[in-house]
Assembly symmetry: C2
Homo-oligomer: 343 residues x 2
Amino acid sequence: MRPDTTDDKDKIKIAIVGYGNVGKGVQEAIARNPDMTLTAIITRNVERTRKDFLGNFHTLKIPCNTVYDIKDVDSWKNKADVAILCGGSKEDLPKQGPYFARYFNTVDSFDTHANIPKYFNEMNEIAKANHSVSVISTGWDPGTFSLERVLADAFIPEAGHYTFWGPGVSQGHSDAIRKVKGVKDAIQYTIPIQEAIDRVREGGSPALKAKEKHKRDCYVVADKSEQARIKKEIKTMPNYFSDYNTEVTFVTQEKMDKMKENMPHGGFVLTTGRMGNDRNKGMIEYRCQWDSNPEATGNILVAHARAAYRFSKEGKTGAYTILDIPAAYLSPHSKETLLKDFM
Amino acid sequence: MRPDTTDDKDKIKIAIVGYGNVGKGVQEAIARNPDMTLTAIITRNVERTRKDFLGNFHTLKIPCNTVYDIKDVDSWKNKADVAILCGGSKEDLPKQGPYFARYFNTVDSFDTHANIPKYFNEMNEIAKANHSVSVISTGWDPGTFSLERVLADAFIPEAGHYTFWGPGVSQGHSDAIRKVKGVKDAIQYTIPIQEAIDRVREGGSPALKAKEKHKRDCYVVADKSEQARIKKEIKTMPNYFSDYNTEVTFVTQEKMDKMKENMPHGGFVLTTGRMGNDRNKGMIEYRCQWDSNPEATGNILVAHARAAYRFSKEGKTGAYTILDIPAAYLSPHSKETLLKDFM
């Protein structure tokens, strides 16, 4: 359903920090949300970004003088209501999150699940001190899948919940590989293991280890002399790869470029449990399928920028996750429209 | 995941208003949520309820002197934190909602979609005046399906969303039939039309009328002499049946009792749309399958009673829907557990 248009002066002003795949996905998403406008792209590499941005110019009718150097704080610090941080979770966000929360309300997709509580506390403290709102760890997982896990657990108490990803490209894991010394480029495919899906659908609430549910296929561009060390570093990387059956295949840059043309992804959260007096079963399945993972993440980040802006306008400060945000705050529609057309 | 236990004195005290199928579903749900306790059943028919309640006694270790006559206000008015209103939308809730919001925080499953805005405004005014919180129109549709429609629309802007129900028993529609003069008993099966599902899955965002998506099969117990009039009244009933292909079949009470032993239901919300620069598709599918519709509704109502209680403790007043409630408020788990185990 098409949302109402918004006067230019009332549009939410968005800054994109980091102009990679997710940054471009955010740019495209802003163009589809008439209550938003892109007012700044903040980057470590202005020249490359200006060139890339012109390449994407067909989508957005915005002059490219909106590109700012990340180091030139005075040039960008008053340019937006919300900064959407599009860097990686491994090296960018742990620094950029706390840094940008000093200047803007922020939204990010920090996705190192094990470190979310620590990152939340850090962002909460900084955002409160700066009277800003920071929505952390959103996208589809963590993000919408986190939300669905919590909802299904509330509606089927003590249910077992199972998350499966793929087959598709994980940006977080691809990014983590690219940070390994000597890696020129990389892409990671997450493959759900069908046998595990079948066991869950049978309803027996099986106990499944990470490696029984998914395997991780990594494709890497690197010099021959570095490959043995790189392979070992990837396979033993904690949080990302060490708990999985991980395969590493080295490919040419040409092959890599071809693989990166499409970045589909998807997955589902499956929750099953007993209800009432144990006689009856309940099942909830949430599934998404994206032709473009970065565009899907971009769309979800942009909806959360709307919520961050609205929270901030209400005087809220600190860190929030999707679990703290009512759905109405994510929607472009008015309360009246939601009650009339969506309930 | 099992939530922490709660000291008896800190448990949320719940009153059930109306002890039919949904009331019993709520009773069973309370037994599965260790932060809640059932402190009152409020009914128009104390004798029948006491008998029914004893029949369900195996689930809850609660003496049956918790059953109160709806007319004896002084006996029940201070007995609970939240009243869960389990009556029907057609005749009970329009009166009971405003009435009980004077005494308690309330949760209900008012499901006449077309009248939700009006009911919301009425409940909002009364709840604000009485410093109480009223969560209206929750269950799985309206309720979780409403939430999923809003979320998917926010994450895939301008997407088409399609809701299919069944095959299964609609309590709201069964209840509406039972209000027709001369009807002794009734049950209504909602049947999704497979051809419509197939068209949506193909991704073409077809425009589908209500009658192209579902048919409604009604089974009714009534005296022969009344059947022609009853059939006509059902088929022409606005909001419930007039927009559908509705079939009415008369059966014996014996056959009816057999049909009512199981009340499975389910359905899904399917959202498809274009993303980015129109090149790519996105799809979100939310599906639930319940062996017992009343138990599922009971579970969802109970989670919302938790949210109503927490909203009230924070000093909020007025009417709310599931669209206004952060998921964390529905969950029995602490913020720390949610960040650590669910994100």
